[in-house]
């Protein structure tokens, strides 16, 4: 049983840690939204794993709240970023950022090579 505890919490913990890394390094706001969403899902999964392994049903209502919070959070931030569109070109894309930051970084890496 101890092995199961360590294995389950280890897997969840490493997953949450990697999601935190993505939350930290960004590079865009939407990456952070996706990372936060995943992090909250992992937290809910950890609560459910605790409830299941300990046979402890007291944390189950918290699960409902956490999953609700993940949805409301990601949708509201996505709508907030969508509201930042000020004007758009004819092809239906806003004129905010010229290209994805990842694409720019990849291109500069290729140019260095």
């Amino acid at each position: 049983m101890t092995v199961v505890y360590w294995l389950a919490y280890g897997l969840l913990g490493v997953g949450a840690l990697l999601a935190l890394v993505r939350l930290g390094i960004g590079p865009s706001l939407l990456d952070r939204v996706v990372a936060t969403d995943t992090l909250l899902v992992i937290i809910a999964a950890g609560l459910a794993v605790h409830a299941g392994l300990q046979r402890d049903p007291t944390v189950v209502p918290v699960l409902v709240v956490v999953s609700l919070l993940a949805f409301v959070g990601s949708v509201s931030v996505a709508r907030y970023i969508g509201g930042m569109l000020v004007s758009s070109t004819g092809d239906g894309q806003d004129v905010g950022l010229p290209e994805a930051g990842e694409e720019r970084i990849a291109r500069s890496l290729e140019a260095d090579r």
Partner: protein, 149 residues
């Protein structure tokens, strides 16, 4: 009481471990993948399948109807809300150009000169399925952009 005794307990523990493993893969994908859409693809693994596996495992272990209904509520809620939030995030990601276009083979949402899309939405309902790569080559050949081979 919290020990593994029966076959149902073993099944529940296996389901919980599978769900936890999916959470690990989500973290790995979030760090490794190149742009918002692919990271969403990785991050959605535990959102649906992982949560379902863990809810089933916890419901087997908890053995109470009140807890089971609440876990079912969480699972149904996740399956209802995951597509909505994913749709909104990916739409904003496309419009804000957080999508790496050099990694896309076909971009059906793109409009204007460089459009990859041939059907305009007014084709008959029994039109043949769109085959973007071949149809694109054909249309460009018709336009004279591409020398016929």
């Amino acid at each position: 009481m919290s020990e593994v005794q029966t076959a149902a307990d073993v099944l529940a523990v296996v389901l919980l471990l599978l769900g936890a493993f999916l959470c690990l893969t989500a973290g790995l994908g979030l760090v490794r993948f190149p742009d918002v859409l692919t990271r969403m693809h990785a991050g959605t693994k535990p959102q649906v399948l992982g949560v379902l596996l863990i809810m089933v495992g916890a419901a087997i272990r908890l053995q109470g109807w009140s807890a089971t209904w609440m876990l079912l509520l969480v699972a149904v809620f996740q399956m209802l809300t995951a597509p909505v939030s994913a749709h909104m995030i990916s739409r904003v990601a496309y419009r804000r150009r957080h999508v790496r276009r050099d990694r896309l083979f076909v971009d059906e949402l793109r409009t204007g000169e460089a459009s990859d899309r041939l059907y305009r939405g007014d084709e008959p309902a029994d039109a043949p399925p769109e085959e973007p790569a071949r149809a694109l080559v054909e249309s460009r050949r018709e336009d004279g952009d591409l020398a016929p081979d």
